[in-house]
Symmetry: C2
Subunit: 307 residues, 2 copies
């Protein structure tokens, strides 16, 4: 059941119509591992930070059951920093600052104790780094999930194609699916992408939910209609963390179980956007998660007699 998570652990500074933050912790691997920690306990993190990253936050991750042996802390260097401003509709944002810092020369070293992981979650990073992680695992994990973004499609498409061939599940958003496939229709886009390597494709549509494609099957999970989306940062990573955390905890990678995993991913994402940054993910209870899952079921489930 062990889960290996790789991705950025970083600082973010966020502006939304509801306010703005100072530098707070963020990064794909932070959201993924925090989110998955509500489902499974053997979580191994591979990432890099500078010595400006607060030790208290690393301690907190450990308290949540996340093994940080693989988190490299680079003396005299600074952590990756991203700053952005969301527009009023919360669906689009401007990047204000990107400082790669330690991420520029990130060498993802896999501690020996992390070998033989069953589940691998490749958070958004350069595709070549994601590939390196797979290459460095002596045994291929049972399930490899990869997140990526449009940026890599623009500057590293060849690497991206190489890495795609090695993964089981790709998670991208609708615009990225269109860009990667050259198809506007998501059904056609999915069909093309499923010939590029992954046998499952998750298309994240933000407030419009998520689609899971596999062979000729398709499943859709809605997002919870919320009064306010306070801060969408990390929602996609939180979704991925809930998704793979649930799969790891159940050790069942069937299509039917992936449907449930997508519901749990959506549940976790619905919490994430309620507060700035990782705040809402830091102290959830199992009761809250189960209650939210019931809301999702009420939202989308219907009994019908069909002949």
């Amino acid at each position: 059941m062990s889960l290996l998570v790789i991705g950025s652990v970083a600082f973010d500074a966020i502006e939304t119509p509801f306010g703005k933050t100072e530098k707070i912790i963020g990064g794909a691997a932070t959201y993924i591992s925090l989110s998955s920690s509500y489902f499974t306990k053997e979580i191994n993190l591979v990432a890099v930070v500078g010595d400006d990253f607060p030790k208290s936050k690393i301690d907190f991750m450990q308290k949540r059951g996340i093994d940080t042996t693989g988190l490299q802390v680079k003396a005299g260097e600074k952590s990756f920093f991203w700053s952005g401003r969301y527009h009023n509709d919360m669906n689009s944002r401007d990047t204000l600052i990107t400082e790669l810092n330690v991420l520029e020369n990130f060498d993802p070293i896999i501690p020996e104790a992390y070998q033989n992981c069953e589940f691998l979650m490749l958070g958004n990073l350069t595709p070549s780094t994601q590939k390196l992680v797979i290459d460095r695992l002596k045994e291929r994990p049972r399930l490899v999930v990869m997140d990526t973004m449009n940026f890599w499609m623009e500057i590293a498409m060849d690497d991206l194609r190489q890495t795609l061939k090695m993964v089981d599940i790709l998670t991208i958003n609708d615009e990225e699916a269109r860009q990667l496939s050259g198809e506007y229709s998501l059904v056609k886009a999915a069909r093309k992408i499923l010939t590029m390597g992954p046998s499952f494709l998750i298309i994240k549509k933000g407030e419009h939910g998520a689609l899971l494609f596999h062979q000729d099957e398709v499943f859709f999970a809605p997002a919870l209609p919320l009064e306010d989306v306070f801060d969408p940062t990390g929602a996609g990573d939180t979704f991925a963390g809930g998704f793979i955390g649930y799969l790891a905890s159940t050790e069942d990678v069937s299509f039917d179980n992936m449907k449930r995993a997508i519901i749990y991913g959506s549940v976790m994402a619905s919490f994430c956007v309620e507060k700035f940054g990782t705040e809402r993910l830091e102290n959830l209870s199992q009761e809250e998660i189960q209650a939210r899952a019931k809301e999702f079921m009420k939202l989308s489930q219907v009994e019908m007699l069909l002949v």
Copy 2:
């Protein structure tokens, strides 16, 4: 179980990235009544056309069980005509031509045999005309569903507010819900609109599905992911027709049954967009409808054990 449908019966000329049509039949009441005719048989139509409207199309409606006694044919006048061009994403369109013609002085006369209808579907028309129909019914129908659009919010908001107070269900799209309520969040928008008269609100999100709000409850039905949306014209009206047709056939206006009605509305809309205009709605079989409903269930239903 009798259903009274009011709205436009008209000509459309449509351009999409897939092609363009000559003048073909369209209009809200045409789509609504054709769609509902697959569910219920006592359908009474109130509308107006000019003598340019093909008698063969009126005959066809009658063959589908639609009573056209209330369809006024104005000698020497022309039918309402709309022409539009869809953009590549199919989510936006430009209106090229709008000729009101007979619709300009439409007086919705209710034939005596149409009195005592149980279900009333007010297709998109001036709000004052919609109100007139309610006023002219000696007994209030069991369920009044009203469709409207942003145009009336801009030029006839007072009339719209008056009419809203008299209906049970309002169907609008997400942008219209935002405009009517002044709220961006659809949850907040729904809460406000539910104080304006209707006790149920359906927000149509096109390819992103539909939401049903009632008191503190909310239900979401996805749209079927399609290879191609050939022509979205009439999809919203077709949805409304399937919705109210199913309710009329089951005579059950509970929230739970409305969920099923929304699935059937979505089923019918998914057929509508497969061909230009009303073409796909003209010869569906019950087997096709049931098979499509099963696809919707597969798409969105999941079994979960929650504690």
